[in-house]
Amino acid sequence: MIWSMILIILPLVMIALYSVVTKDDSLLSFNFTLDNFIKIGDPVYVKVIVKSLAVGALVTLICLVISYPLALFITRTSEKTGSILILFLTIPMLINTLLRTYAWISLLSEHGIINAALRSVGIARQNMIYNNFSVMIGLVCDLLPFMVIPIHTAMAKMDTNLIDAAYDLGANKLQVITRVIFKMSLPGVISGCISVFIFSISEFVVPELLGGHQFVLIGNLIENQFISIGDWNFGSALGILLVVLIIALAIALRKTDRGDNND
């Protein structure tokens, strides 16, 4: 038990350590510095971080908007169909993400499958790849199941008598959905949002392949520092920033959840 905890903590400690020392060839001399964190303040990097947050937020929002009705409809089907639908929702998660991303390239590119189909019905060629659109498509397709499943789980636990009770007490359909169903499914919504946001904010392969290499997100920046540029210290500082951002967000969301329940 303890060794497993060590393996989890040690890497984080190492990142934290690397983020506050200067680059030096010998591992034993630690020159403390905050330069790596100061460097993040450079407008270039601030822009990347803001863009990552925006992409994360947008992907989460789109996933939520698509998933919520889907989860609701799945819950309303019979138990058997519901579990089969959920099963088919999990199958794509087993298929390699990279392979699915490549498939989107052949679907969306200038001379791709969708454009060929459009042209055959007389619609002009659309520019669908290497822009925000293609990155969104790729990320949403990749992360949708992570949103649907927790929401569905929360809804499935819900006592349907509550809904009947609400109707009996004179609530209209809209009120039932917003006041009863949404509130009851909130824990699922929150856990779905957190996981989709975490995944999308740190993703670097999907943006690179579908957005072109100019689509730099914080994940790409970290990967670049570690793999090609070789500035591990700055990369570590970015990593720490990412963890802090996410933990702050998770705490904030949990707080609002609890706050709501106390009403």
Binding site: M1, L85, L87, L144
Partner: protein
Amino acid sequence: MTKKNSLLSRLYIVLCFVFLYLPILVTTVFSFNSSKSLTRFTGFSLRWYAKLLRDESIISAVYVSLSIAIIATFVATVFGTITAIGISRNRKLIKNVVLNINNIPIVSPDIVLAIGLMILFTSLHFPRGYMTMLISHIVFCMPFVITSVYPKVRSLPPNLADAAMDLGATPLQTLLKVVVPMLKPGIFAGILLSFTISLDDFVVSFFVTGNGVSNISIVVYNMTKRMNPVINALSAVLIAVSVLIMVGTMLIPKMVKKRRAHRTLPTARSVAIRKWSARFVVFIGIALIAVFSVKGWSAQNKKTLRVFNGGEYVDMELIKRFEEENDCKVLYETFDSNESMYTKIKSGSEYDIIITSDYMIERLKREKYLSKLDTSQITRRDKVIPSLLKKNFDPKGEYSIPYYWGSVGILYDKTKVDTKDLKEGWNLLANPKYSGKLYMYDSSRDTFMIALKVLGYSMNTDNKKEINQAYEWLAKQGKVMNPVYVGDDVMDNMISSNKALAVVYSGDASYIIDENSDMDFFIPEQGSNVWTDSMVMTKFCENKKLAHKYMDFFLDHKVAVKNTKYIGYDSGVKSVYNYFKKEYYKGNSGCGPDISNPLNEEFTDQKNEIKKYMDELWTKIKTKR
């Protein structure tokens, strides 16, 4: 309350699933395509499946992915369950601390865990490869097991274990017969989750692997250069297998339930069956681990050669032939850029042979990573184009044997680009006429080379003023032209005529022109980069004889011809170069480019400070828009 869905909502469900399954459908359909195209279906064939069975690198990647997923899931489940049970018996404070720590890998992005593990293994000088990948997978799977098992542990009646022991069960019996069966649903969810995550992982594996060990994701990632439909065939097989597994896991518990419903009391036989099936599962687990470790060990017993090469930079069938001829095992690993290769070496990975470019050889030589060759052992050295053995990075040809060489230029679509504009040279890339219609290459040095050449400077300058001017040019070009910065995916894109212009290596141009005759290639008069990729032997190499044999093998005419047909670059072997220039690629402007222009240069190794400066400016250019 109506339980029925309206037609509209059913349609919505269908639409969502179409969206989710569209990419999977595309890969499956195109795995049966008779041609190489990933966008046009030309006819049914099973050729990619036949190729899949013969592709060693994919087969071994499947083996790595599956074995790691199985072992990591097994270990993570056993230890995760024990930990979950252990936590619940601790004091509240410890419990909370452990649970919170456990949550860290779950909430923190995998890239953070990946770099943390990479730093850890590097600073411990832990040799990277199968073991590091396995340990990492166990580390990130275990928290998921703990989170799925722990709630079930908490819901157990608190005195359950005491009751069992009061009734005379030993602690082990209590654990296996009372506690574990009660936790089954949680453990099962944990297993499924770990297996899925481990099998699909790219980021962590990519950062911690080494010494020729790749899983499926890494192989796919390094395949960007030439997406080949073999990978579609693999994906179709994986889809079929996952569907079977998922349906199986759904149906088996139901069948068991049904059977159980038929009997009222457990007979002696059924108890025995259950006992034996439990033992059987444990036995399989142990056997699998044993088989895998024996296999790894026996591979070590053979002579091995660790080769580190760029992605898609060898015909794998030749590696197989070399292994057979010399009764050895080649641990073949690929990198996606010279810089990532260097980082890998810096972080402690060891290889025997590396295939890399001029300036990088200069650096490796200076940092004493290389070992001198015994040229008498390379009998075919005289077949090499003589000028290639006298390059600045290795003037006496003591350290390196040339592999491929070429230059950088502009690939253009003859049907879209006015040939009169070609005289603009590199400035063509800034001609607003072609705005939005070009690909630039995502490599800071190659792109700065273009700007420096436009301005008439040396591409090896360490004058920051000149570099700043080049930056201004590139920033403006980026704004006006709106180019897409790509990696090796430029090849597939140009083969399908997606844009009019692209900056490419001459060898890639030959390959593209061969596939798409609308394309042509030229090297601007302002001068360009002339590069040589060579094979070098590192100081870590133990079996030097085998390493020399490897280099000699690739100088053989027939071998080099086969290799060149696969790669498309200009060979360093004279007879092979001539054959391609005069016959195979006759008239192809990408093949054997004229490099006599005095303005052409070779890259020299940059000072760290300049390299960092350029890299930062490059990040700025890419993120400008």
